[in-house]
Symmetry: C2
Subunit: 104 residues, 2 copies
DNA sequence: TTTATATATAATCAATTGATTATATAATTA
DNA sequence: TAATTATATAATCAATTGATTATATATAAA
């Protein structure tokens, strides 16, 4: 039943509005923390803490680019997460307007 | 974003070991509460409360048969839940040994 | 109609969680 | 090097949650 425990842990992570939205955003493209903060209209520590949980579970990975840290989706082999994200309407329109507003 | 909220609520329900196991069991066949209690080796109120949450979310439905109440899976149209349950190895061997042990 | 069985509900409580506030670190720019 | 920007971490706190204990309801059997 170890399989179920691990699955439940991952699903618990998805079962939060903020984190689920972050994953849906990252489905479109990698984003830095300040992008996410702006889009979600939340505080920077709040975004960071949710990202940390997602990272601990291995669902996202990060790359630093100068002073920005970009997070991207890392869900290979987790078909059910893909199925969940496919269920969410694209948030592309939330991202595009910000292009170059924030970083770089 | 109402879509995401509802999805997160459902995923939060799946993000619990006990409830996820109940769903995986019901994937095999409908079960009464006493079946679930025996298989999970938990208390009757605990099973009942989890079943109530699943029922409130519309993920399971119930039918009374005499003094037993059978719960069954009700996830039509929720592809992501099917994907999650497909990810779990079958629990059939947990169910079969109990056949006719408990009810009726 | 009393007793037993199956299930639900309510109350309680400890543990977990999400958000906020404050502070620290790291990279960049002036 | 000082100031600024991006991000992380730590501490705090209210709210939520899962489990337990106790009790209620409903069906069936004696």
């Amino acid at each position: 039943m170890e399989q179920i425990n691990e699955l439940a842990e991952n699903l618990k992570l998805l079962g939060d509005k903020t984190r689920l939205t972050i994953l849906a955003l990252l489905k479109e493209r990698p984003l830095c923390v300040c992008d996410i903060v702006d889009i979600l209209e939340t505080s920077q520590p709040n975004a960071s803490q949710h990202l940390r949980k997602l990272k601990s579970a291995g669902l996202v990975s990060e790359t630093r680019k100068g002073q920005w840290i970009y997070y991207s989706l890392n869900i290979e082999g987790k078909i059910y997460i893909q199925a969940v994200l496919d269920y969410i309407p694209s948030l592309k329109q939330k991202i595009d307007p910000m292009k170059n507003d924030c970083c770089e």
